[in-house]
């Protein structure tokens, strides 16, 4: 019966205030009273509560949306279909006219006029040579001369691809295909046991070979001699060349990533097709899969925010239901909608439905963050800024590593890589899945737990600033009765976030030259860890400075240090063995060997921060963090043996 009663409260609230009619109207249509509501045990009732709240949420959203939005949305959708068709017809004109080329032969000029990136000028060869400064490329008597600038090089690349495409179109029509394509390459991939220990971008091989031919150390496995024939008919090969020669247009180069493509033809390629994977291809997957998810999670964020405006969520909170049920119930419709969107997209691009497996943790992660941001933001602009910031960071966390899909094992940090692999038709293992998604699952779970603890009137309707609110939220999960246990748990659950931030650092710094990448990572990793460890202590300190007697201070530091160490080791053993074995791993996560050394370090660092807080007050946090980071860096350098 409770829903009906709440509906009345809203009607009463909304009656006198016309200008807010849109918001109050959503409550004017009371949610159907759950007739036949019977207590059937805790699990059943929780499920029932969630279902009720989910239904309520859907109804509320639609009542807001249907008023004026639905007709406009339908019109926009129809327009979108038309515009998409138009864009597909006309192509995307973003790189038009970037390069100027001068050609002396009209037949050659005709080859490049269809590429809108080029503005083609025709002139006599003498004039072209005289004015060559005005062109990025000059083609005179069959020779291609690009200017020595970056732009000239880029123009030359574009031109070379166009020319290769033209040649392919001629050769593919030849009756004797093996005269046109006399050389075929069969690429065989060989697995190597050592993967992450070669973090450099192709600048050196870890074991420099001697002057003569190297001799294998392990036992030699017999490799069968490859067959000299292709085992495929000319017609099938012709088809492959035809499909792959279309790949060169600026748009289709990206859209082709989505089509489960030519791999069906086996691994045979002509030398021309032998190319490293293009680094930006996976960005299309970000647009296709990640942006719609981000977009729909906005609705959830807004729904949470709306509950907080003018205390509108009060009736919801007064329902005799657990807060976790409220949160899950509000979230469920969005989760299902996002899953449905992904399924539709997957079916539309004819990809395997396995793609959904790595997408689910991304969806959950987005929703968890939307929930927290919706609960934290004070105003709409704050909501916008924080959510845009979050989406950029999350998108780059997903996108950066996937650049290296097929190239380097670091790519597996991101679930997006699994999507790239699935779309390609490459298999991945359960271990890969755990490796790529565990951080998403864990951080989402922790965020939900924090949200559930703080989903109450005091927190939701507070007018405090952003950072104090975050502190309050942490304070909410630190029970006053058991401060040390709370610190232990807080340090433990901060681990997934720390790892995520450090992974981000690894990915960003990975490409700097060797000593710099390691040093930047060293400092960043130490700073992130110290900040995470200080969070709990700082929260407690602000809540009750008198709690920190020297004895309690030491105990609190110990609890934090132990919690952090336990969490670190647990997650390491579970997921990240591959990275932790490398030199980068030893910087990030300390050595796996002895336990008392890192424990001592964590303890000392927390103690530094806590002591400086006690002696200098809140303002001493930054210097304290700085000192702790310094100590941490020195320890890491010592472990790495750089002092010897």
């Amino acid at each position: 019966m409770y829903c009906g009663g709440n509906g009345n409260i809203y009607i009463g609230m909304g009656a006198g205030q016309k200008h807010r009619s849109v918001i109050t109207d959503q409550y004017l249509s009371p949610v159907p009273t759950p007739i036949g509501y019977r207590y059937t045990g805790p699990a059943m009732s929780a499920a029932r509560d969630i279902a009720i709240i989910a239904r309520w949420e859907v109804k509320k959203t639609f009542s807001v949306m249907s008023r004026n939005v639905l007709p406009v949305a339908i019109v926009l959708f129809v327009l979108l279909v038309f515009v998409t068709g138009f864009a597909a017809e006309s192509g995307l004109h973003i790189q038009d006219g970037m390069y100027r080329i001068g050609v002396d032969d009209p037949k050659v000029a005709a080859l490049f006029t269809s590429d809108t990136r080029f503005t083609v000028y025709q002139d006599t060869d003498a004039d072209l040579i005289r004015d060559r400064g005005a062109y990025d490329i000059v083609i005179v008597r069959g020779g291609v001369f690009a200017s020595a600038t970056q732009k000239g090089q880029s123009a030359e690349n574009a031109l070379a691809r166009d020319y290769a495409q033209y040649k392919n179109s001629v050769y593919a029509g030849e009756s004797d295909l093996f005269a046109a394509y006399p050389l075929w390459i069969d690429t065989e991939s060989v697995e190597s046991e050592i993967n992450f220990s070669t973090p450099q971008n192709g600048q050196y091989i870890p074991v420099p070979p001697g002057p003569g031919a190297p001799v294998p150390q392990g036992p030699v496995e017999n490799i069968p001699t490859p067959s000299p024939t292709l085992g495929i008919t000319q017609d099938e090969l012709r088809q492959q060349i035809a499909t792959s020669s279309q790949e060169n247009s600026p748009v289709s180069r990206y859209t082709d990533v989505l089509s489960p493509n030519s791999a069906a033809m086996g691994s045979f390629v002509t030398p021309d097709q032998l190319s490293p994977p293009l680094p930006f291809d996976s960005i299309i997957l970000v647009f296709v899969f990640i942006f719609p998810l981000y977009f729909s999670s906005q609705f959830f964020m807004m729904s949470i925010m709306n509950e907080r405006i003018e205390r509108q969520g009060e009736p919801l909170l007064s329902m005799p239901v657990k807060t976790s049920s409220i949160i899950l119930g509000k979230m469920l419709p969005y989760f299902l909608a996002m899953l449905a969107i992904c399924t539709v997209i997957t079916l539309y691009i004819h990809a395997s439905l396995l793609v959904l497996l790595p997408l689910i943790p991304i969806i959950v992660f987005f929703l968890a963050n939307a929930l927290i941001i919706g609960m934290l933001a004070r105003s709409f602009r704050e909501l916008s800024f924080v959510s845009i910031f979050f989406s950029t960071v999350a998108t780059s966390y997903l996108f950066f590593p996937s650049i290296f899909a097929n190239v380097h094992v670091i790519s597996l940090v991101s679930p997006l890589t699994l999507i790239v692999l699935t779309v390609q038709g490459t298999a991945w293992t359960v271990a890969d899945y755990v490796y790529a998604t565990s951080l998403f699952w864990l951080t989402a779970a922790v965020l939900f737990a924090i949200a559930a603890k703080n989903f109450n009137e005091e927190r939701l309707f507070s007018e405090k600033k952003f950072l104090p609110r975050i502190r309050e939220f942490l304070s909410g999960i630190l029970p006053e009765k058991h401060p040390f246990a709370a610190l232990f748990v807080l340090a433990l659950i901060s681990i997934p976030f720390v790892f995520m931030a450090q992974m981000m650092g690894l990915v960003v710094f990975f490409n700097l030259p060797m000593p710099y990448s390691l040093i930047s990572l060293l400092v960043l990793a130490a700073l992130i860890e110290e900040m995470a460890k200080a969070a709990g202590i700082y929260t407690l300190f602000v809540r009750d400075p008198s709690f920190f007697s020297w004895k309690n201070l030491v105990l609190a530091s110990a609890a934090t240090a132990i919690g952090f160490l336990v969490g670190e080791k647990l997650l390491l053993f579970a997921t990240l063995a591959q990275i932790s074995e490398s030199i980068f791993g030893s910087v990030l996560f300390l050595s796996l060997g002895s336990l008392w050394m890192p424990l001592l370090l964590h303890f000392a660092c927390v103690l530094i921060v806590a002591s400086s807080l006690k002696l200098g007050g809140k303002k001493a946090l930054v210097p304290g963090l700085f000192a702790a980071t310094l100590l941490h860096c020195c320890y890491n350098l010592y472990v790495l043996g750089w002092f010897h």
């Binding site: 138009f86 017809e89 050659v108 050389l183 069969d186 190597s192 003018e310 910031f389 600033k465």
Partner: protein, 365 residues
């Protein structure tokens, strides 16, 4: 309509933005994406740009050659980047697994003039940067060999393509095209999109938090209030876009004519901001307004991108220095659209303002 009132509102909003430290997040965001582009610069050019790779040309990759003699062996040995070892296939693959070789090439016993193709087997490591780099180097050698074989078999071709001497190094990565043809136009238009979203927040907030009455009770009219909000959002655009261009040039991505780009971006963004403001005035509620605006934005962007000489393309052209006089026509069209939409919004806001003033009188009376 008084300029002073508009300025007062703009100032109030800018103070609001500054006091909430969230603007810091926006700045952090810029630095972050700048870091991203430097990451692209350092990492990916080294990987995909053969010119920058030649910096490491003192290093020679060890590869193994197995199988039969062929001219390919000579080409491989002639390459500056590769050191070729002849050995049998099984040993070579084992060495590859131990990472002491970068690639293994196996060549069968097929005559150059044979009716069958020459099928080479290439063994490389999975998930390995080095393998990708070696692929780039092997490719040029293999293309050379393919050319030879084609010449030998040329008599069997029906048509020969128009010959063109394209330098062998060409055709690898396209970093320049990506940066100037995609990254730069998108980055400088990003502030416009953000500002449009911001104006929706600023306007709907007055409605949803019920602060509109207080504002209307001051001498400021409703239309002036809306223009003040539009103004502050519009001012943010060139500031942010300018910061982008500055950050890009710090990353050694030189932009040919920054001021001209800012001019185009500011007016095109103003158009977006006005559309967003109209959405917000109509819906008065953030979720609906943002939803309709962002869907409309997708339609508009797609339509604009499909047109030649669109503002994004102009930015790319200006950035690389190939823009012509046609840009002034486009700018004129955008300005005309801004004026038209500004007039519509003025009328609409005036109507709403008149209505809410009427309501106010009714309420008090």
């Amino acid at each position: 309509m008084k300029g002073r009132h508009i300025a007062v509102i703009a100032k109030k909003e800018s103070r609001g933005l500054a006091s909430e430290k969230t603007i810091l997040l926006a700045i952090l965001l810029q630095v972050f994406i700048a870091l991203f582009s430097s990451f692209l610069m350092v990492g990916l050019t080294a990987m995909y740009d053969p010119v920058s790779l030649s910096r490491y040309s003192h290093f020679r990759y060890d590869i193994a050659y197995a199988g039969n003699e062929s001219p390919l062996l000579g080409y491989l040995e002639g390459s500056n980047d590769l050191r070729v070892h002849r050995m049998d296939l099984s040993t070579a693959v084992e060495l590859l697994k131990e990472r002491r070789l970068s690639a293994v090439v196996y060549v069968p016993d097929t005559a150059p003039g044979s009716d069958d193709p020459v099928k080479i087997t290439l063994y490389t490591l999975t998930d390995d940067l080095q393998g990708a780099v070696v692929d780039v180097r092997l490719k040029s050698v293999l293309l050379q060999y393919e050319g030879d074989l084609r010449t030998i078999r040329a008599g069997r071709l029906d048509v020969t393509p128009i010959p063109l001497q394209v330098p062998a190094s060409a055709g690898s990565g396209d970093f320049y095209g990506f940066v100037y043809g995609l990254l730069v136009p998108l980055l400088v238009f990003l502030p416009g999109i953000l500002s449009a979203a911001l104006v929706i927040d600023l306007i709907t907030e007055e409605y949803q938090h019920g602060t509109l009455e207080t504002l209307i009770s001051t001498p400021v009219t409703f239309a002036e209030m809306v223009w003040g909000k539009v103004l502050i959002c519009a001012i943010l655009v060139p500031v942010q876009a300018g910061a982008w261009i500055l950050l890009l040039s710090l990353n050694r991505i030189a932009i040919a004519d920054p001021l001209l780009i800012l001019l185009h971006v500011t007016f095109a963004s103003l158009l977006l901001i006005l559309i967003a403001a109209c959405c917000a005035l109509y819906y008065r509620e953030r979720t609906a307004a943002q939803f309709v605006f962002s869907t409309a934005l997708v339609v508009i962007l797609l339509l604009v991108l499909a047109l030649p000489y669109n503002p994004l393309n102009l930015v790319a052209r200006i950035a690389v220095g190939t823009a012509g006089a046609e840009q002034w026509i486009v700018l004129g069209a955008v300005m005309a659209a801004v004026l038209a939409l500004g007039y519509v919004m003025q009328k609409y806001a005036g109507r709403i303002g008149g209505r809410s003033a009427g309501e106010k009188e009714q309420g008090s009376g």
